[in-house]
Symmetry: C2
Subunit: 252 residues, 2 copies
DNA sequence: TTAAGTCAATTGTCAGACAACTGAGAGAGC
DNA sequence: GCTCTCTCAGTTGTCTGACAATTGACTTAA
């Protein structure tokens, strides 16, 4: 009973199915029709009911479109989602993908005490010691972003950052693997540059900046990082795909 | 129970089911267990297979968590997603929910010709006639947003807007039901107010504004609306939940 | 007291069937 | 030839019933 004779890792059918479906959709040209459900179910080795459960998740994400009596079709605008705000990606990796040379300058690590505002956002007690990581990001030798991360020392100590830190706290935590990360709750604002930040970014005081204020959650649901990110307009483009919910219209 | 059991609702079962499930999940406290699938299916008047298809979409969005042999549980952080940028919601409805009084002023409808930039974004030929809808949105008698929508006249004619237009093109199109809407691709920028917009919003030229540039897609995949939306900082808060993709870390 | 076994409840998956809808081709009428 | 209607095969939408896998609580024996 407990033996698994020749089976490899026996992943649940649904999990494997999602992977197979994802690959199938990705390699099918947009607008093209997928095989019919009975055919697909047989070829993927699952029942039609299970297949349909999997398809629903892709339909909800807008990757496929199903038309009764006709078939299931792959929708375009796939890469859009990957570069959008839906996925948290470090500037370094993003720039790397589009072939832009970025470097980090002026890494300033300090220890601070949690003031009332920070303590509330990080959900720690007032006065707790915190690691404060600030740095300017340069693209083509021009400053384009100013990033500040604030974390408890038990999450990330100053000594750990002496080597192997490329400027992205998220990348660093992912690489370390502990704690596991889940989501980032990002607030989007437009602000005028105050003098200290203007000097760092080599712009005029009062110039417009895009400000992301983010809380990073571990997979246990705890807040493990609070960050401010100031971006110079024009050097980065942020976008988001928003679903239109026609349901709620009836409830108004 | 509410209404007649023999009523012939024209809405497709799955669409109605999504609405019912959404309401059920919203009014169930986080951490609480939902009724078992057989019970829920019977009470919602659908088969267990259809119910499970619906549940998959909510599970994919992280609103519920299912554990084999135990049950289905409501996950917290529900309101976050609903007020976030993931769902396109009109200012009117958003303000309505948070109890803010908004009104529309100075509705200016005009006809323009597509210039090169617009023609490319709307994917119509240069010189095509377009309906141009501009208006300022007031909250508590202060201007807080300036919205411009640009559409082909066959989508929305000037005459249609004479009655029943509350300021939201999206709400108007949803209510009309044709064409069906699917997604909005929204670009996020920080800009300085130019003089004409500063005058409309009663601010100083050069003050910071949050600018959303959006393309609205029909369910057929066509672009049916191009819009600029200028927001005064402080009156609206936009946020987005970003997933951390730990996979890509290995590919760098 | 502790450990192992039993069992009811719940989700996961499957097979088969029929309903609803679509598009294209066949055929009748002009 | 042309147009309109009808038929029909193909596809997705939904339902029914069943069994497998897993879990947590309860029972029982040492």
């Amino acid at each position: 009973m407990s033996g698994s004779p020749t089976s490899k890792t026996k992943r649940p059918p649904f999990s494997r199915l999602q992977n197979e479906l994802s690959r199938l959709i990705q390699r099918t040209p947009p607008g093209e029709k997928l095989p019919s459900e009975p055919v697909l179910a047989k070829s993927l080795g699952v029942s039609r009911a299970t297949l349909r459960e999997g398809m629903r998740t892709f339909e909800a994400r807008g990757l496929i479109r199903r038309r009764q009596g006709v078939g299931t079709f792959v929708v375009s605008q796939l890469k859009v989602i990957e570069t959008g705000l839906e996925v948290l990606e470090s500037i370094e990796r993003l720039a790397n993908r589009i072939g832009l040379a970025v470097r980090m300058g002026e890494l300033v690590i300090s220890e601070t005490m949690a003031n009332p505002e920070i303590s509330e956002r990080l959900q720690v007690e007032e006065g707790t010691r915190l690691t404060n990581i600030a740095r300017v990001i340069y693209a083509d030798d021009r400053p384009v972003a100013y990033l500040v991360d604030i974390l408890p020392p038990n999450i990330l100590a100053e000594s750990e950052l002496q080597s192997g830190f490329n400027g992205s706290v998220v990348d660093f935590l992912i690489q370390r693997g502990n704690p596991g990360l889940s989501k980032s709750f990002t607030d989007i604002q437009a602000v005028a540059a105050e003098s200290s930040i203007a000097r760092l970014l080599e712009i005029q005081r009062g110039d417009v900046l895009l400000l992301f204020t983010a809380r990073l959650y571990s997979d246990m649901g705890e807040i493990i990082d609070f960050s401010y990110s100031y971006f110079l307009p024009g050097y980065f483009r942020f976008h988001v795909v928003r679903n239109v919910d026609t349901h709620v219209a009836y409830n108004v």
